[in-house]
Symmetry: C2
Amino acid sequence: MSIHSLPAGPAIRPPFHVPPSYPVGGIGKVRLISLATALPLAERDTLEPLSRRVALDQKETLYGQDEPAVSVFNVSSGALRLYRILPDGRRQVTGFAFPGDFLGLSLLDRFTVSADALGPVTACRFERLAFMDLLRGQPCLMMHLHEILGHELSRAKDMMMLLGRRTADERIATFLMGLQERYVRIGRSSVTLELPMGRLDIADHLGLTIETVSRTFSRLDRDHCILIVPGGVRLVDHDRLARMSAH
Amino acid sequence: MSIHSLPAGPAIRPPFHVPPSYPVGGIGKVRLISLATALPLAERDTLEPLSRRVALDQKETLYGQDEPAVSVFNVSSGALRLYRILPDGRRQVTGFAFPGDFLGLSLLDRFTVSADALGPVTACRFERLAFMDLLRGQPCLMMHLHEILGHELSRAKDMMMLLGRRTADERIATFLMGLQERYVRIGRSSVTLELPMGRLDIADHLGLTIETVSRTFSRLDRDHCILIVPGGVRLVDHDRLARMSAH
DNA sequence: AACGGACTTTGCGCTGGATCAAGGACGCGA
DNA sequence: TCGCGTCCTTGATCCAGCGCAAAGTCCGTT
């Protein structure tokens, strides 16, 4: 099992760090909560006054696992990796967050994963307790968030199937197709997928080693299934990928 | 990857089957919703009038994946396995359900897994839409269920780490420790763990083959770490198991 | 344009767990 | 008590993916 899983990266869990933020007033009518289509506009308007903006540079940590969850976040731009680490350094990247995604939505009093920026990131921050108070008076919004959490759980089960039962090829194909689908959903439809995460992040997400990920990418490229381009991949044989990832 | 994953078992997803149920009135003060400690008594009283009782025999299906989720359930007695199956028969058991557990709590309009009985099972059934209506007027109860869902998601992430990064030994040890902890929580504390599921279920849960599960059990037994007994295992060297499963 | 550092790719040998193949244990119905 | 079906165990062999080592690529910096 990979011990080389840890990029020199940021210190793990600066124990109580809350990222810098400033009130959001006066930014005019820029929409900060960008949940793609998942939250109706009216509900975003309810939430927005409560939010403060956060900005992170690459590799900065938004929060660490087991830290008290003082905040809930909604990603505005950029991408983050969400992960857990075992004492011996083995890492599982449980997912990646993109614009529109909520972080800390389970509203538990501690974060269950760490989150750090893959590149420059901006997000909306909500004081968790205030957020919960608001929800108590907004059953409909609460229901929406519950539904989002339900979908997240369903995707977690997809991951279990993937990690427990699928081959390396299938994992990579599933990963690429899933990422494309997500990009479509947030309006970044394109044949060429940007991959803001590195090979090691993908490996730790899919339960593989960096070498296996790299080899599989290379082979898919050789087979004209994908085309590796700087910073991402172009999905060439979409059908074959879909067949490989079929569930 | 194991193709022998499917016990002769029940037909997969009888497409629209709702298990037999009958009104619950007149059972006196037997408590049907048995969420261990997770739900306060007052809230159970709110829910109970809405429920009907369901009984299943071994191998009967409570619901199938992708079936419209007309109901939500709370397990009263017995145990179920929750799983997904790929077209080629590979199976991932996403979890097991025990007394007190809610099923279908994400309230999505379709079930995301199949659920069938490992032995005789009884459960409370709620009409999902009525259940949701009730919740809209009970923000506090809604919050509780959201929290439960959050914990479920957290355990799903534990599973990702386990499936993606841990060895066979660690998986088995983690499984046994986790099961014991759950038994403690529902008041079935005991050194001897009953295992209502078969080796194949455990294998499909942990992303292993039945042979590896069997061999690992045998070795742990030989090493006096556990003692295999009919229908379960006795945890002999609790500390070593805990060390193996350490996170 | 030369250097250094981080990341990625590739070759090669190895191994943990899968696969294949026999038996063994147990319960149940005739 | 026997026979049968289901589940579990054990041995022998195999192989997908791992671990190690060495280049190769791409930047940003000087």
